[in-house]
């Protein structure tokens, strides 16, 4: 049974709930999600993260992450 003091660990990526991984950077999260498309815009809790910062910015627990894939293709 879950004790009351245990905080749920999870993040929401593009509206889908997934596990939170401690110290995971955006670059690692994109790899875990297999989001290999290069033209993505990433927002954490609505704040845009610049592409150059993907290897350094860590995804906090309980955050909402939007990985917006640009259309391209077609």
């Amino acid at each position: 049974m879950r004790s009351y003091w245990v905080k749920t660990v999870g993040i929401e990526v593009n509206g889908r709930k997934i596990d939170w991984v401690e110290n995971e950077t955006i670059k690692q999260l994109l790899r875990r999600m297999r989001y290999t498309f290069p033209l993505v815009v990433v927002k954490i809790n609505q704040k845009v993260i610049l592409r150059k910062d993907f290897p350094d910015v860590v995804v906090p627990d309980n955050s909402r992450v939007d990985v917006i894939h640009m259309i391209s293709g077609g």
Binding site: N14, G15, R16, R34, Y35, T36, F37, P38, L39, V41, V42, V48, L50, R51, D66, V67, I68, H69, M70, I71, S72, G73, G74
Partner: protein, 774 residues
């Protein structure tokens, strides 16, 4: 010159050189008609006249473009629609005398300051769909047609023997000449005619000639494409870009046209006489810099072209494999772009028109042909582009060399790679189920992965083989479906659900099972399932950004309108969103790439001297989009039933497909249809498939409801007179026609919503006559 680029004089093409007696070939021409015209300047992007040719009567004349025509139809594809409306009947078929083959240019066409401004738009009544087909294409012909003094050329009637049409912008002369001795296959005839019509024997002069042709297979198939040449001064070959979709090449050959040649004396980037060249140059400098600096970190188009999409589509389960059964495949990495990068000739600028820094038109030079009439010869293969690679995956061909062979023969024979590949993939699946077999396929073992059989099938089409299978199969999936059903060789439902066509046109190469919006992007279209109206898979399936029907409908309004706009202007869409400004992420709606949209607003103003804003751009498209749909209605189509799509594009048709993605589909039954995990576990697979089938079909109908409503159409998908008037498209004959069709639908009880709405769910409007209120 770019760093490391090979100087023109040092580059040796390595392709087989042909020795033709061009004098003899040319002297066998008989001039059937000639027309001298007065050369005039292009003003603000428009030549302000079109060229009309009738091959039945040998009539050649000029037609004026009025200001009203520009206001209503803008240019390019819009002009094509107007010329079709004025020249065909609702009963016109692809092979009717009066069918009109039109090549048009927009006001941007020919500009070299901004990338992607060399596109032509081709329109005709398609043999595959029996409605209007439009196809966009690069190469030099469009700009040269414009520089010769015409915004469009339309060709009606049929010649009695093979002809070439020559538009000589140097002399101001049009001629129709018999052409009995030329080759028909495009890589040869384009080279012959370039050499034949060149003013002097130099590479620079050859660059001033462009040829449009189709190959021998276009004569015997409904997949005929048009090959537009552009002479490559380094490779010393007539390279080609294709207007692929809908059988335009079939119509060209049906009219007995071997080729259309356009020739200019010289050209400059400002030959369009833009209203404001200074602004144009400024916008151009900005985008060129952006592409040069950012492409390598983004789509890498300059290095590998659109082929970079293969690995992405495979990763996201969107790469059509074995006739769209799967979206990824273990062997797919064999055709990832690095494997083609190795084969491409590098350090050569690869734009399909001057000034395109995106330069995505890659080639493999000196490729040794492995089969067929050109076996052993060395050729330049233009491509392969993503769609052709997707066809490889669909046929389960994983050897890059076979894909190049397929690419080369499709092009030179004048076959659209997309329709050919998608159709062969369907035949291969039918072969796997025993619905087709060696005997029924005229001795061909057309099973997945059999490249030699696929090529042999194409060679037989080109030879005009009289076998029953080859004859029907070359007409495409729709005819084969009817044939298989008539022969009672297989289950009707299976055949209908797995053959990837809609409106008679084969699908292009994306798996849409998990993206309802993209199902609409293929089905709720004007000409059929081509991704050039909307590509919404990421937005819908990955980003989860358009969750409601209203959201999806908004996207299926905006993007088709936006992308139609490229065709009105003579533009390539790639520089819009295959590169994005560095701060695009911070824009309000990054998917639209707002900074680039603003570039296009300013560009149109700079070229035409108009004063438009971004809303007006969408309106320009809406006018033409609705006009084209109304013309489909006029021809007895363009209703809900015509927007039907095969179930393979919505969900799993076979048990194998379900099992291959079991976790995903089981989850859908729980999360979407509300079944318990236990119920799903206990349920047999047929039942699960049936539940999904009914659900997904209903979703598609609800999507159609929302989209028709958003577009201002009736619930049966017909543009209303009110909508047309609002757009300023108030031609009385058109308005009367659509009102009559709406009344007929009303009488037949067809003006009703298609979705099944449960309690708590609402159709887009409770009032079924909503449009009458304006």
């Amino acid at each position: 010159m770019v760093d490391g680029q090979i100087p023109v004089e040092e580059y040796e093409t390595g392709n087989t050189k042909h020795k033709w007696n061009l004098k003899k070939i040319k002297s066998s021409h008989k001039v059937l008609a000639e027309y001298d015209y007065k050369k005039s300047e292009i003003k603000n992007g428009f030549a302000n006249r079109t060229l009309y040719i009738n091959l039945g009567t040998n009539q050649i004349k000029e037609k004026k473009i009025t200001e009203d025509m520009k206001k209503k139809f803008t240019g390019g594809r819009g002009f094509g629609l107007k010329l079709l409306w004025d020249s065909i009947k609702p009963t016109t078929h692809w092979d009717s005398e009066e069918n009109n083959l039109i090549i048009t240019t927009g006001p941007f066409c020919g500009i070299t300051q901004y990338p992607g401004c060399g596109k032509s738009l081709c329109l005709t009544i398609s043999p595959s769909t029996d409605i209007i087909c439009d196809s966009n294409v690069g190469g030099f012909f469009g700009p040269y047609l414009k520089f010769s003094g015409f915004d469009a050329v339309e060709i009606q009637g049929k010649a009695k023997e093979d002809v070439v049409i020559v538009i000589d912008g140097e002399k101001g002369k049009i001629s129709i000449e018999t052409a009995p001795l030329e080759e028909t296959d495009s890589h040869l005839v384009n080279e012959q005619l370039t050499h034949m019509y060149v003013s002097e024997d130099s590479e620079g002069s050859r660059q001033n000639v462009s040829v449009v042709s189709a190959g021998t297979a276009a004569e015997h198939s409904y997949w005929g494409c048009l090959n537009f040449s552009f002479w490559d001064i380094r490779r010393k070959v007539a390279r080609m870009k294709q207007a692929g979709r809908g059988g335009l090449g079939t119509v060209l050959r049906d009219k007995k046209i071997k080729a259309v040649v356009a020739k200019v004396e010289k050209f400059s980037g400002l030959q369009n006489n833009p209203a404001d060249p200074g602004s144009l140059a400024k916008l151009g400098t900005k985008i060129h810099r952006e592409i040069r600096d950012l492409d390598r970190y983004q789509c890498n188009m300059r290095t590998v072209g659109t082929g970079h999409l293969v690995e992405i589509m495979d990763e996201y389960d969107l790469l059509p494999t074995e006739n769209y059964r799967f979206g990824s495949f273990p062997k797919a990495s064999k055709i990832y772009s690095p494997n083609f990068y190795k084969l491409f000739t590098k350090v050569i600028p690869d734009g399909c028109w001057h000034g395109c820094t995106m330069a995505c038109a890659k080639t493999v030079d000196g490729f040794t042909v492995m089969t067929g009439p050109y076996k052993g010869q060395k050729v330049t293969v233009d491509g392969p582009e993503y769609e052709t690679l997707g066809c490889g995956a669909n046929m389960s061909l994983w050897d890059p060399l076979w894909i190049l062979e397929f690419n080369f023969y499709c092009d030179t024979y004048g076959l659209d790679t997309i329709s050919t590949g998608t159709a062969i993939a369907f035949y291969m699946e039918m072969y796997e189920y025993g619905i087709l077999n060696k005997e029924r396929c005229d001795g061909l073992e057309l099973c997945f992965g059999n490249a030699e059989a696929a090529l042999e099938f194409m060679h037989r089409i080109a030879r005009g083989d009289k076998g029953e299978f080859v004859g029907v199969a070359a007409k495409g999936i729709r005819r084969v479906k009817d044939w298989l059903i008539e022969k009672e060789w297989g289950d009707k439902q299976l055949i209908e659900d797995t053959g990837m066509e809609s409106k008679g046109l084969e699908y292009s190469e994306y798996v849409t099972k998990e993206s309802l919006a993209m199902q609409g992007g293929y089905g709720l279209t004007l000409k059929g399932p081509q991704h050039d109206e909307a590509w919404l898979i990421f937005m819908d399936m990955v980003n989860n950004a358009i969750p409601t029907f209203a959201d999806k409908a908004e996207a299926l309004h905006y993007f088709p309108m936006w992308r139609t706009w490229f065709g009105l202007n003579g533009l390539c869409k790639l520089p819009w969103n295959d590169v994005e400004p560095v701060n695009n992420a911070e824009a309000d709606d990054p998917s639209k790439v707002p900074e680039h949209v603003q570039n296009y607003v300013e560009l149109q103003n700079a070229i035409t001297g108009w004063n438009v804003n971004k809303e007006e751009l969408i309106l320009q498209s809406e006018r033409c989009y609705n006009w084209q749909r109304a013309m489909n209605v006029w021809m007895g189509r363009g209703r809900r039933k015509d927007d039907w799509i095969p179930y393979r594009s919505m969900g799993p048709v076979t048990k194998m497909e379900y099992v291959s993605r079991k976790e995903r589909y089981d989850k859908q039954l729980v999360e979407i249809l509300g079944l318990s995990e236990k119920e799903v576990e206990d349920m047999d697979i047929e039942k699960k498939m049936k539940l999904l089938y009914d659900y997904k079909q209903d979703q598609y109908q609800k999507l159609a409801d929302a989209v028709y409503y958003r577009r201002g159409w009736t619930p049966n998908g017909v543009p209303t007179p009110q909508k047309m008037k609002q757009l300023g498209m108030d031609e009385p004959k058109m308005l009367k026609m659509i009102q009559k069709k709406i009344d007929e639908d009303e009488k037949a009880g067809l003006n009703v919503w298609g979705g099944k709405y449960k309690r708590g769910e609402n159709p887009p409007s409770k009032d079924l006559d909503y449009w009458e209120k304006g």
